[in-house]
């Protein structure tokens, strides 16, 4: 297996010089494989119990018709056939995609811009900005949903009141009542909450870029914009790939924000997949069908992440470790 045998690029004072075929001495920095496994075991067990077992259980339940009690009947693939024809589920999927695209542009795009600004010399009080930007990510999603639904309130909301003060009352609308624009209204507070989160990640990635590269570019006459696009963006590719994956997976399972703000309404215009599963389970008592829906969400999310990883696969081949 060769786990005690690895290339070292720098010489360390603790270990003897490497020679081909000689195993390294066991120490605290290079534990035995058995010790590694022992430390990972509790986490692995918890992960299996909390994630893997429910997934397998959901896959199993999706082949049955179950309303929660003792009566449970096997119906094969009927749930999946019904799922493919379920308009509400596919509308929820389109809504999830809308949110993901808007959040990709809003969260990661804006976070990148903000992080670039924070890197410049002009901005003072950098750590204060970081704290304030990250603060919304620490608030519960339920609180964010409620507070923003008051902001959007037609009679007393912040938006319409400010428009009234500016004598622009004719632009005041019932923001959460229009099915055509409700997805945009609902995405805004999701974007708002997590911009800081992605900004901090991108800042950390940017900090690892050597400053000398920027200096050389400045000597060549590159503007700030060109520096960001041509230097920063390519060098943090791997981190960006991770943030894209986080963005997709987080927005595929979005629930609290929608539940507290609109409950999926009006009608089903702001329904998302996780909320659909919740309603099918607890209001319609169709546990088997909801399990099939959950498996559907899993498959669709993995498919999306796989699709977005294809362009980045070539990147990862370049920098191998």
């Amino acid at each position: 297996m060769g786990c005690g045998y690895r290339h070292t690029y720098t010489r360390t004072p603790f270990l003897p010089l490497k020679r081909e075929g000689v195993k390294l001495k066991k120490s605290a920095l290079h534990p035995k494989s058995g010790t590694i496994l022992a430390y990972m075991l509790p986490t692995f067990l918890i992960y299996t119990f909390v994630v893997i077992v429910p997934i397998i259980s959901a896959i199993r339940l999706s082949f049955y018709n179950w309303s929660g009690g003792k009566k449970i009947t096997y119906i094969g693939l009927n749930n999946y056939v019904a799922l493919l024809k379920d308009n509400v589920f596919w509308q929820s999927f389109r809504n999830n995609i809308t949110i993901t695209v808007l959040c990709f542009i809003g969260q990661i795009g804006l976070a990148f811009i903000l992080a670039s600004f924070l890197q410049t010399r002009m901005i003072k009080w950098k750590s204060f900005h970081r704290i304030v930007a990250y603060f919304p990510a620490t608030i519960s999603a339920v609180v964010v949903g409620f507070v923003w639904s008051f902001v959007y309130n037609y009679d007393y909301g912040l938006i319409n009141t400010v428009l009234g003060i500016l004598n622009l009352s004719k632009w005041a609308k019932p923001w959460l009542d229009n099915p055509d624009s409700i997805m945009y209204a609902v995405s805004i507070h999701i974007i708002w909450q997590y911009i800081g989160f992605y900004m901090v990640i991108i800042l950390a990635a940017m900090a690892s870029i050597e400053k000398s590269i920027y200096e050389m570019a400045e000597i060549d006459g590159a503007s700030g914009f060109q520096k960001a696009i041509s230097i920063t963006l390519p060098m943090i590719k791997n981190t960006l790939a991770v943030t894209v994956m986080l963005c997709i997976s987080g927005n595929m399972k979005i629930f609290d924000h929608i539940y507290t703000m609109t409950g999926g309404g009006p009608g089903n215009s702001s329904m998302v997949m996780a909320l659909d599963v919740y309603k099918t389970t607890f209001i319609k008592s169709q546990y088997g069908y909801a399990s099939a829906m959950s498996v559907g969400i899993l498959v669709l999310s993995m498919l999306l992440i796989f699709i977005t990883r294809i362009p980045t696969m070539s990147w990862r081949k370049e920098s191998d470790d």
Binding site: G69, Y154, P174, D177, N268
Partner: protein
């Protein structure tokens, strides 16, 4: 033995109806508790109970006041019986009771909503109490006619009604209606439409509705408006699966009447984004001339401003020309029941009888079924969600009727 105790507890609570006059409910409880205490038990018994009322609304909600007064008196009179009551709000209660059922961990006593009965009975979570009811005819007859309908399946009764109310009363600000020329609330639908147009011309909202949680449109409006157009026979046929369908022209016509009324601009423009608590504020501030709500709103009115409180009167929704329904009917009756968990499997015991209280208006009014107390919950969910879109003109009545019927067909196929 446990069954006896549990049944006597049930009777105590079943005495309390949702009454605007709390004195009468207290008289009822004191007469019952004296009878209940005569059937004391000697061995200590512990009961778990889950409900959707909480002690925080005692004094505001007549039902909660009566319910907890009865519970406290019963516990005081029967020191050997310990009832552990846990209260949650309705949405959380629905989630919890469903989860407990799936985990096979039901409490001994729980509150059951009419639309859940089929599901609960199929899964064996509520036991049949028909025999106990039949054994005590005075007790059974004390409940209002049709009180057990929602909770009967195949001739067996699975719960005791714990509150009786109507969901569809028009509370209107008589002064605001007098200002546009109506000294009394219109009794014909065409008059109501005229009034709505006049309010719109004046720039006032005629009716406020907070439909964010999507049940008010169906429970407070459609259950009665539907009855005006289709007649009660159609509703009963749907509930008892005697051949009526949601795609029948009468029901589609009811949906169309509802949608046309919304198209007149009779409702507030943010109908789907405020909930049933926020709609009260709109009415209290006189931004709307009327609100259609249930009996529970009577207790809510006690916190209204003095002038609104003085000017508010109660009426029924008008009759619809050409409709098959009775103009003096309102959707009402027991919507919530007290049920015994199937885990309580002891022998029987004779228990004392109780008497219900009727409200003055209800004495001359026939109760028609409340849709979400009698129809299947999956069907009601489809109806509620669709109504939100119907009222903002994003769905036609025919489309909605077809969707509701599709959901009913899925439920029937099980």
């Amino acid at each position: 033995m446990v069954l006896a105790v549990v049944l006597s507890v049930t009777f105590l609570f079943a005495a309390c109806t949702s009454n605007p006059v709390t004195e009468t409910s207290q008289t009822a409880t004191s007469s019952i508790s004296s009878q209940a205490s005569s059937s004391q038990v000697s061995t200590p018994v512990e009961l778990t109970m889950l409900g959707h009322q909480s002690r925080s609304v005692i004094g505001e909600s007549a039902f909660a006041t009566g319910f907890f007064a009865a519970l406290d008196k019963f516990t005081a009179d029967n020191p050997n019986i310990k009832v552990t009551y846990e209260g949650l709000d309705q949405t959380a209660y629905q989630t919890k009771i469903t989860a407990l059922g799936a985990a096979d961990d039901m409490p001994d006593l729980f509150m059951l909503k009419g639309s859940w009965v089929s599901n609960f009975v199929d899964n064996g979570w509520a036991i049949d109490v028909t025999a106990d009811l039949d054994a005590d005819a005075t007790w059974k007859d004390a409940y209002i006619k049709g009180g057990f309908d929602s909770v009967t399946r195949d001739g067996k009764i699975y719960g005791i009604p714990q509150e009786s109310m109507t969901t569809s009363l028009v509370y209107y600000n008589s002064k605001m209606w007098a200002d546009i020329g109506y000294s009394e609330f219109p009794t014909k639908w065409s008059d109501l439409q005229e009034a709505a147009k006049k309010f719109k011309a004046k720039g006032t909202t005629a009716f406020v509705m907070g439909n964010k949680a999507n049940w008010p449109a169906e429970s407070c409006w459609l259950s009665t408006l539907g009855d005006r157009v289709t007649g009660t026979d159609w509703t009963n046929s749907i509930i008892n699966k005697k051949g009526a369908k949601f795609t029948d022209p009468d029901f589609v016509s009811a949906l169309k009447t509802f949608q046309d009324f919304a198209k007149l601009g009779a409702f507030n423009v943010n109908i789907n984004s405020i909930d049933d608590t926020e709609q009260k504020t709109v009415y209290f501030k006189k931004d709307a001339a009327a609100i259609v709500n249930g009996t529970w709103f009577i207790s809510d009115m006690s916190s209204a401003p003095a002038d609104v409180k003085a000017d508010t009167k109660i009426a029924l929704l008008p009759s619809v020309e050409g409709g098959k329904g009775d103009a003096k009917a309102a959707s009402g009756g027991p919507a919530w029941f007290l049920s015994l968990s199937s885990k309580v499997t002891d022998d029987k015991h004779k228990v004392p009888a109780l008497y219900n209280q009727y409200k003055e208006l209800m004495q001359s009014v026939a109760a028609t079924p409340i849709y979400d107390a009698s129809m299947e919950s999956a069907v009601i969910e489809a109806m509620n969600v669709g109504l939100q879109e119907l009222l903002i003109n994003k769905k036609t009545p025919e489309q909605l009727a077809a969707e509701i019927q599709k959901e009913q067909d899925i439920v029937d196929a099980k």
